[in-house]
């Protein structure tokens, strides 16, 4: 399905996989170099890479800005956690179930939003997110509400290194899926719908199908990330499907560079690491992120990747 069989573009795709393998291999060595705290930061960053990248697929490539992404991570986490605690299900199986349920609810939300665009779609997803949040907090019997649900780990003996490898593998899988979609005919249809829905329809694009499909893939990936994350934290709280988390994911994608493949990846690592440094000075990271986002919006709407592109082209034109 890779759209261009020209030699130059095939090389570009091959280069992506090479870089991915090299970076992945480097990350595999991290447990030998980093202490547990720093490994934790990397694991959390990888979670955000999965979240920001899959959110970007929906918002940056089909133009549907969803505020329910963190909620879907929560669906993945709670589904897996509840099945493990109440039904004794194997956590790996639980994560799979969480992913499937997230995907299914993604289809539902996608259809719900189909007549809406722009701000109305965003508001509807926001409402969905809030409703889910309230349900989770109130259904104490099942979710333990704000106390949090204690869940088993993904392995018998808890090991940060093992979790790093797991999250790394999951992130690589997520990125491969997203990359393939973006560079396929489906990706072209995504962008066509984002650029101009009516014009796309007049060219034979089944807009409803495309929009719902984007929701499905994006939400399933969020559920997958959330499921794994929950079993890493060992405690699933309503913090995961919260708007705080949602805006953090949004900031990472936007500041990194919406609508580009690399943007959310860069944004996730930069903001997560920045967040850890600022945490020493109290809760100011929200303020800092807000200021950074403002500066980006004013000077570099295409985020950090936009900034890199401009510096790159300026150098080459000298």
């Amino acid at each position: 399905m890779i759209i261009d069989s020209g030699l130059r573009v095939s090389l570009r795709h091959r280069n992506f996989f090479i870089v991915l393998i090299l970076v992945g291999a480097t990350f595999c060595l991290l447990p030998y170099w980093l202490d547990d705290y720093r490994l934790h930061v990397v694991i959390v960053s990888l979670f955000y890479v999965m979240m920001a990248s899959s959110w970007n697929l929906l918002a940056g490539y089909t133009g549907q800005v969803s505020f329910a992404h963190a909620a879907f991570a929560g669906i993945g986490a709670y589904t897996s956690g509840i099945l493990a605690v109440k039904a004794g299900m194997n956590p790996w199986l639980g994560v799979m179930m969480g992913t499937i349920l997230a995907g299914f609810l993604g289809v539902c939300l996608g259809f719900l939003c189909i007549k809406m665009g722009g701000i109305y779609l965003s508001l509807t997803t926001l409402a969905f997110s809030e409703i889910l949040h309230i349900i989770i907090i109130n259904e104490y019997e099942v979710t333990r509400g704000t106390m949090g649900l204690q869940v088993p780990a993904l392995m018998v003996e808890y090991s940060k290194a093992a979790y790093l490898y797991i999250m790394l593998a999951a992130t690589v899988l997520t990125l491969i899926i997203i990359y393939t979609v973006i560079h396929s005919n489906l990706g072209l249809n995504f962008r066509a719908v984002q650029n101009d829905e009516s014009a796309a329809a007049s060219l034979g694009v089944h807009v409803v199908q495309i929009r719902v499909l984007a929701f499905t893939v994006s939400c399933a990936l969020a559920g997958f990330a959330g499921g794994l994350y929950g079993h890493y934290l060992l405690l699933i709280t309503p913090e995961i499907p919260s708007l705080d988390q949602q805006f953090l994911v949004l900031a990472m994608a936007v500041i990194g560079g919406m609508g580009s493949f690399l943007g959310p990846i860069i944004g996730s690592f930069v903001l997560e690491i920045l967040s850890e440094y600022i945490r020493a000075y109290g809760e100011y990271h929200v303020l800092v992120f807000g200021l950074v986002a403002l500066a980006m919006a004013r000077f570099s709407p295409n985020g950090l990747t936009g900034l890199m592109d401009r510096l790159g082209s300026r150098r080459s034109s000298i």
């Binding site: 261009d4 962008r191 650029n195 101009d196 009516s198 014009a199 796309a200 060219l203 034979g204």
Partner: protein, 240 residues
């Protein structure tokens, strides 16, 4: 049996009757003009035929099939392509990608190599060959209109609805555009239904002209018949 036939097409928007029981027939291989003063309902008629609007009542028959009320993308897959009055290419995509979108959504699918070839060929046909990697938002007006036509052609249609292609073009560009429309019919076997305000062009290229005024069909005939018709002149100049 006519290639495209509208039977009593009526479109109401609340209390406003945009189209009032319009009947028309177009034969295969014709270039038919659609003219009328502003607000006559020309684009509304196109929207009804292309699936952007569902007629309040009446029928759209295409190549023997009742297509009334089908969605845009279904109309497209049945062979009806349309351009928009204000050219709307996908701004953040290259010319090649714009045309590819049309090609990948065709009814009969093609291999990636074939899709690339078709994209190249369509861009060459309209004269945008060397702009293939240019972002659509960076094109000038005539280039945007050519891209608009290329996209419509890339859907592999049987009927092309052109909505005011010549607006804003200078004399030389108008000549280019008319030539392109002729080639659509002569080289690509398309039937063309063409809304136009530039009278000279329509009279030159069309075999038949349909005149709309205030939502109703005033008359139809050959270009020379239409241009000399008293009612048509009155409609354009207004009542004394």
């Amino acid at each position: 049996m006519a290639f495209l036939e509208g039977v009593g097409i009526t479109k109401r928007f609340g209390g406003i009757v945009a189209l009032n029981s319009v009947n028309f027939r177009i034969e295969r291989g014709q270039i038919v003009g659609l003219i009328g003063p502003n607000g006559a309902g020309k684009t509304t008629l196109f929207n009804a035929v292309a699936g952007a609007y569902k007629p309040t009542s009446g029928q759209v028959l295409f190549d023997g099939q009742d297509m009334t009320g089908l969605a845009s993308y279904e109309m497209c897959r049945h062979g009806i392509a349309r351009t928009f009055q204000v050219a709307r290419p996908f701004p953040d995509m290259t010319c090649r990608e714009n045309v590819l979108v049309a090609i990948i959504n065709r009814r009969q699918s093609n291999s990636p190599a074939e899709q690339n070839r078709l994209a190249e060929e369509t861009l060459e046909f309209v004269g945008l060959g060397d702009q293939r990697r240019t972002q659509a938002k960076n094109l000038n007006l005539i280039e945007k209109k050519k891209l608009e036509m290329a996209r419509a052609l890339a859907t592999d249609p049987k009927l092309v609805l052109l909505d005011e292609v010549l607006g804003g073009l200078n004399t030389q560009e108008i000549g280019q555009a008319i030539e392109l429309v002729r080639r659509l019919r002569d080289e690509r076997g398309q039937t063309v239904f063409w809304i136009e305000h530039v009278m000279g062009a329509v009279m030159n290229a069309a075999e038949k002209v349909i005149v709309l005024n205030e939502g109703t069909k005033l008359m139809e005939g050959t270009p020379s018949e239409v241009v000399t018709d008293e009612r048509v002149i009155q409609a354009y100049l207004g009542h004394a």
